[in-house]
């Protein structure tokens, strides 16, 4: 019987090694898998590369990983937060590397990794500093920039409901990067508010089919970014 549920957060993240590349879901604090991030913090892995839309704020979750010096590099679209303590201080001190990517290009690069696309051309960022050094080609009469997939070893994602196969639904704008990150990581680890019986999710309304999910952990009362 296929059952992807792990008994604990600790078990779910136990094998994430130093140096891993990790997709972390969430946008503006919504959909962030704070409990998985905290478990990873306790686990102790270092030298991580993290792909997330931002750099997180507060003291838990991704902010704890950054603040605790576990993250070597961030790939994101919006590394600015009201609280400069966590990321900005480390960045200005040269202790963390930053790759800035337009938000839509970030999403499409993650999807490309999940969908087996080797690279793609996008009009986004042509003529801007973010296209510096990138190949440009005219397609459909427009200049386009070549962008490459963003693979990850692991994805940490938060969803609403899962069944034991790993089919997922999300809640409102907490969906954001979750579905494409589950696609793009070798191993996707999902904290869900509720685990339901196989068959309880409407097959027409499953957002992430089970094939993209490797591990689920039930976290009925998820921690919020603070």
């Amino acid at each position: 019987m296929v059952n992807k549920e792990k008994v604990s957060l600790e078990e779910a993240v136990a094998d994430i090694p130093d140096g891993a590349v990790i997709h972390i879901g969430g946008f503006g604090g919504v959909g962030i898998p704070v409990d998985l991030c905290d478990a990873l913090y306790r686990q102790g892995a270092r030298n991580l590369t993290v792909i997330n839309n931002g750099v997180a704020s507060g003291k838990v979750g991704l902010a704890a990983l950054i603040g605790g010096g576990r993250v070597r590099k961030i790939i994101c679209s919006y590394p600015r937060t009201p609280d400069p303590e966590v990321f900005e201080k480390k960045y200005r001190a040269g202790e963390i590397e930053l790759e800035l990517v337009p938000q839509g290009t970030l999403a499409e690069r993650i999807r490309a990794a999940g969908a087996g696309i080797g690279a793609f051309y996008t009009p986004t960022s042509v003529g801007t500093p973010l296209a510096d050094g990138k190949e440009v080609r005219v397609l459909q009469g427009r200049e386009m920039v070549l962008e490459h997939p963003l693979y990850a070893d692991f994805a940490l994602v938060k969803a609403e409901k899962a069944d034991r196969w790993g089919n997922l639904t999300y809640n409102k704008s907490a969906r954001n990067f979750g579905p494409i990150m589950c696609m793009a990581a070798k191993t996707s680890i999902v904290q869900v508010r509720e685990i339901v019986a196989l068959g309880a999710l409407d097959p027409e309304a499953i957002v992430t089919p089970s094939i993209f999910v490797d591990r689920i952990v039930n976290v009925p009362y998820p921690t919020k970014e603070t």
Binding site: S77, Q103, A107, E108, V126, T128, Y170, R175, F177
Partner: protein
């Protein structure tokens, strides 16, 4: 008579160019005022980068749902007929040319339609781009909402942007506190100008050469606060 439009009046003016049935993305900050001034009987469907079509008004504290925010990371609501989707689908809408209008702020707009609105290149703030480069590359029309001049009086409409670009040749129209200016192949064309301001006065406050549209008229708005 006021010497210039208030921000709400600029937003009101933009609303006049947003029509029934349009799909519209409003940037963070001032452009959010546009939502407040849309007539309730006009079906305009607001897109939010973080996976929402049909963004509704700010909820009451009781109604607020921590899983429902807008791109500005503030609590939001969903209108009847709205839908949720993931980030790649959201930016497929943007990049694929499905958004009719996006409204953004700007540091500088050039006469050739170049836009600079994400970083001044200085060291005071970390560079943060968000979805701006995707929006200006993909939206059918890019409306800029801004003060005509900086606080120290420098022009924000210029011959060439000196700040790092967000996109090239992307601006459709600039709505400022004193004018409505279309960016056309021939350059900056004044469609509307405020009150009895002369073209010389307007030109003096603008860093790029202006021409006056044949069918120009006065920029007049009601008092919307």
């Amino acid at each position: 008579m006021a010497e210039k439009l208030s921000r709400r009046q600029i937003a009101w003016r933009i609303v006049q160019d947003i029509h029934e049935g349009m799909y519209v993305n409003l940037g963070i900050g001032q452009p959010e005022l546009v939502a407040d001034l849309l007539p309730p009987d006009r079906d305009v469907i607001l897109h939010s980068e973080n996976g929402i079509l049909g963004l509704g008004p700010k909820p009451t504290p009781e109604e607020a749902d921590d899983d429902l925010i807008n791109a500005g990371k503030k609590h939001a609501s969903l209108v009847t007929g709205g839908a949720y989707f993931h980030h790649a689908d959201s930016f497929a809408m943007v990049r694929g040319g499905h958004i009719d209008v996006c409204v953004l702020g700007a540091f500088q707009v050039a006469a050739n339609g170049d836009l600079a609105n994400w970083t001044t290149g200085g060291d005071d703030l970390l560079p943060a781009v968000g979805g701006a480069m995707d929006l200006v590359a993909g939206a059918k029309k890019v409306f800029i909402m801004m003060d005509h001049n900086t606080k120290d009086g420098s022009p924000k409409i210029v011959e060439q942007c000196t700040y790092p670009l967000t996109g090239r040749h992307c601006v459709t129209t600039v709505y400022t506190d004193i004018a409505v200016i279309d960016i056309k192949p021939e350059g900056c064309v004044v469609r509307e100008k405020f009150a009895d301001m002369t073209m010389d006065e307007l030109q003096a406050r603008t860093g790029a050469r202006l021409t006056l549209a044949n069918d120009w008229h006065l920029l007049a708005t009601p008092n919307v606060g």
